[in-house]
């Protein structure tokens, strides 16, 4: 320990620590087959739903609506598979004790892990670019609208991941984290889903129908997919992400010792 006795080493800035966690996490995805399985399954299903079932060619329109209609449903069960291990693994393996006793506040790790999971998901999303190339070769798509559609999908992925991270912090079991995460995402998707709204309209008061509809991810994502970026939608997704991450940090603090 050379001459270090009594020297108080300065803690790093929270952002330096967050960068370290981000790098570790992102590297962690590719250290196991999880990343490759996720990407392959996502692209396979996205391809099938967009080209075969979504009728990208048959519609005769140069846009990516079929892709953006598909993505929320794929995210519904694939994203909880990414987020389930975020914190439950730390708690089960005991490494949470290491992380918490490092000289960095817990929120820096919460944000870093979320961003790493988001970056990974965005990579998978970006790999759907051949669909964009295809419609560009076949016609004259509105590139702005496609970009907006991608932005909407990205924001929705972020919201799903934040909710999933929060659920993952509440349990040591990845299976439970997956099931609860998928259920929570399901609520957010279905809240804006046409048939559910119709069902509610039959008996629920108008304000409730509106309220539930406003919670839904689907209508908002569809706005993006049509090329409409509304401030309200941006604020909505940012709020969901922030609220879920704050809850995540609170849950970690409360349950870290269990």
């Amino acid at each position: 320990m050379s001459e270090s006795t009594g020297v108080l080493r300065e803690p790093p800035s929270p952002f330096v620590a967050a960068w370290a966690v981000f790098r570790r996490e992102l590297g962690g995805y590719f250290a196991t087959p999880v990343a490759y399985v996720f990407i392959v399954v996502f692209l396979l299903l996205a391809g099938v739903f967009t080209f075969a079932l979504g009728g990208l060619y048959e519609r005769g329109q140069a846009d990516l609506q079929p892709l953006f209609n598909t993505v929320p449903w794929l995210f519904l069960f694939l994203i909880p598979a990414v987020s389930m291990r975020l914190w439950s693994e730390e708690r089960r393996g005991g490494s949470i004790e290491l992380l918490v006793t490092m000289p960095a506040p817990i929120w820096s790790s919460v944000i870093a892990k979320f961003l790493a999971a988001w970056a990974f998901t965005l990579l998978a999303l970006a790999l759907t670019f051949p669909a964009w190339v295809t419609v560009s070769r076949l016609g004259e798509p509105d590139h702005g609208a496609i970009l907006a559609g991608y932005a909407g999908s990205a924001l929705m992925a972020g919201a799903f991941l934040a909710v999933g991270a929060c659920v993952s912090a509440a349990t040591k079991s990845q299976v439970i984290a997956f099931v609860l995460g998928a259920s929570a995402c399901m609520v957010f998707v279905l809240a804006g889903f046409g048939p559910v709204i119709e069902f509610l309209r039959g008996w629920a008061p108008g304000w409730l129908v509106e309220g539930v509809g406003a919670l839904g991810f689907l209508t908002r994502a569809q706005n993006f997919a049509r090329g409409v970026i509304e401030l309200a939608d941006l604020v909505y997704f940012a709020t969901v992400i922030a609220a879920a991450l704050i809850a995540c940090a609170a849950i970690i603090n409360a349950k870290k010792a269990d």
Binding site: T5, A20, A31, L98, A257
Partner: protein, 270 residues
């Protein structure tokens, strides 16, 4: 307080060294107030550089919980802990930066290699560039990790996993080292190596280690703090402690001190 602390600090030879670690009336209660379990019930002691404090007690006595509080993992229900004069509640990051901690069971990230894991820890400690490789190499050499640096941690033996945890704890040359059962589950040779490492670090470091292996206290500790049912029941040099029993054996004292008020220490004296 300081007069008393000096008397209880035989290893530090009454030097004017400031206490690196001060625990005052530390309490940890789990569960709802009033009804919950009191895991730690008013633990106070001080320790200085050069001291190796053996934290002894039966399983469930509160050793790990006390360590978790002083490393900032758990918030104390009452009382305070200071590291280098700073309160851990008021300066969590600065005090954590001064501590090296080996949690019980030496947790790590199983899919990482020791090289990657230690580099990650170095970055979390604020090291940059060449400093990282230097610190990792030095720590790996100290605990003799060469040869397994590129293997996933999950494939390593228990002894190597423990060494990875130790390397992580000493990586940043902390003035305060907190080791929760550093030799648990190691074979005699590995135990010997860990003790040699502790002795090597001891002159410049304040080391707190928990154990229920009494020979370890004899082997490396300058001072033994015995805890039972959350309370300190003895604080003396190993020799003083042993002298208290008729047989002059530490395990007899241990049994006398801890059996009365604590749960039966099954295997704790082995």
């Amino acid at each position: 307080m300081s007069e008393q602390a000096k008397q209880r600090t035989p290893g530090a030879s009454e030097s004017a060294l400031p206490a690196l670690l001060e625990l005052q009336g530390l309490v940890k209660r789990f569960g709802p107030p009033g009804s919950g379990l009191v895991a730690v019930d008013g633990v106070s002691f001080e320790a200085r550089a050069g001291e190796v404090v053996g934290f002894l007690g039966p399983n469930g006595a509160g050793k790990s919980t006390t360590m978790k509080m002083l490393t900032g993992f758990l918030e104390p229900t009452a009382g305070s802990a200071r590291v280098m004069g700073l309160d851990i509640g008021e300066h969590p990051e600065r005090t954590k930066a001064a501590i090296g901690y080996l949690p019980e069971g030496a947790p790590a990230y199983p899919d990482m290699t020791p090289a990657g894991f230690l580099a990650f820890c170095a970055r979390m400690r604020g090291m940059k560039g060449g400093e990282i490789a230097e610190a990792v190499d030095r720590a790996a050499e100290r605990v003799q990790l060469f040869g397994v640096m590129r293997q996933p941690i999950e494939t390593l033996s228990k002894g190597f996993k423990r060494r990875v945890g130790l390397a992580q704890a000493i990586l940043h040359e902390p003035p305060v080292l907190v080791l929760d059962e550093p030799t648990d589950g190691l074979d005699p040779n590995q135990k010997h190596e860990v003790r040699a490492l502790i002795r090597e670090l001891a002159p410049r470091t304040c080391i707190i280690l928990s154990t229920h292996i009494l020979e370890e206290v004899d082997a490396v500790c300058t001072r033994a703090v015995v805890i039972a049912a959350g309370k300190i029941v003895a604080d003396a040099t190993p020799a003083e402690l042993a002298a208290r029993s008729g047989s002059g054996r530490l395990d007899d004292v241990f049994r006398e001190l801890t059996l009365g008020e604590a749960p039966k220490p099954e295997g704790a004296t082995a």
